[in-house]
Symmetry: C2
Subunit: 241 residues, 2 copies
Amino acid sequence: MTARSTNTGEGSGAQDPHRDIPEATVARLPVYLRALTSLAERNIASCSSEELATAAGVNSAKLRKDLSYLGSYGTRGVGYDVDYLSYQIAREIGVTHDWPVIIVGIGNLGQALANFSGFSSRGFRTVALLDAAEPMQGRTVAGLEVRPFADLAEIVAAEQVSIGVISVPATAAQDVADAMVAAGISSILNFAPAVLNVPPGVDVRKVDLSIELQILAYHESRKAAEADGTVDNGSEEGIRA
Amino acid sequence: MTARSTNTGEGSGAQDPHRDIPEATVARLPVYLRALTSLAERNIASCSSEELATAAGVNSAKLRKDLSYLGSYGTRGVGYDVDYLSYQIAREIGVTHDWPVIIVGIGNLGQALANFSGFSSRGFRTVALLDAAEPMQGRTVAGLEVRPFADLAEIVAAEQVSIGVISVPATAAQDVADAMVAAGISSILNFAPAVLNVPPGVDVRKVDLSIELQILAYHESRKAAEADGTVDNGSEEGIRA
DNA sequence: CGGAGTTTGTGACCGCGAGAACAAACTCGC
DNA sequence: GCGAGTTTGTTCTCGCGGTCACAAACTCCG
């Protein structure tokens, strides 16, 4: 899904102990980080891979392998130091400092995102809210004034923003994405139900609510069909827990 | 692959119940369905795999392979009939009829979800909004009255709800999930940043906003490091005690 | 100091999924 | 009717990712 060009030949001769972390691992690191934060809040200083894996909802072998891509930050026979590992993961992800983020489209969803505390508490800082609709402009949402969409480039340049969130209707999403890219944004989180076309080097991640529901509906249909009559296997056939 | 069904009994009505569609394909079917809907709205009656793949943002070979799991609904040398294929995909997903959905947690995000038109237009119908907080109860959001959380089981039973959406704070998510499962819900869409523990047979999909942002941040860090030329890995001086 | 117990880190294996290439099947023009 | 052109459906291959199992390394205790 990432539109990232995989070139980056880059000498790579560097004897870094760890470059090129698998994408699947990258997607799990934030989960580990959150689990570690939760442990730290309960004043737990160290934990085993088994404990952390349980807290993160994954297999312990997978967790150890994931962490091994970052380096050897555990101690055999003991486990992992919570604070130390937290820092290492945060450093690897790049959230040891806050990233400025702008949100375009301050409708229902945009307002919810602006008010979402999880952003500010996990390495991100919302620096501006933008909307093209006149009635929204000037209003204050989550302590920030809603500014005109036309100010996009100016804000991005002034605040060194590289991450943008799109929460506009699907029909406007591509235009917003184009403007973001033109302004210098290179990572986009897209909530609009539309396929975005972006140049190489720009990352796009999409969050599509109705797609998630439809995937659930598919499995739900199968469950219903199975419960009805067509009992193929009878055994648990548990679909993941 | 044996398209010939080995019968499995049940030949009534249903066209061709192929089993075992790969999970990756299931996740893309809704995207295809949306692209087809978009084409239909532009009065396009048929399309090639290449056109549809472009509209969906995927490779045409992958698209053809995905569709082949459903059956042979295209015509060689011609392409796919938009309406016919739309119906077949919708049938396979199970969204030819609407699914009742309940939303628990009517905060900022919950309200945005309740107002989200994409739900109602794509095979889902929000039948109830629930919140444990007194001040919310009785208020009307998106045309629905917010009801007490305690009514969960009653509503689920009355409306035959099998899909639930969780948009409560992380600390309450597990309790809500437990109550949903106890009430008979077997598919959960979780927006709370927490790992849910559910029994086998219950599907959970999670949407985690800060995780998505952190994944973007990771790639963004790499881009920045690459542009700098500085690898900046080691020598970070462990903080270890 | 050494052995037992514990836990990490990693090598091996296997299955799913992505992509390319090609055969099958349909339409169109003559 | 038949060949040329087009597009689907499928086969093959390859690499990523998940899981298992085990050696390495650390602690604890006698």
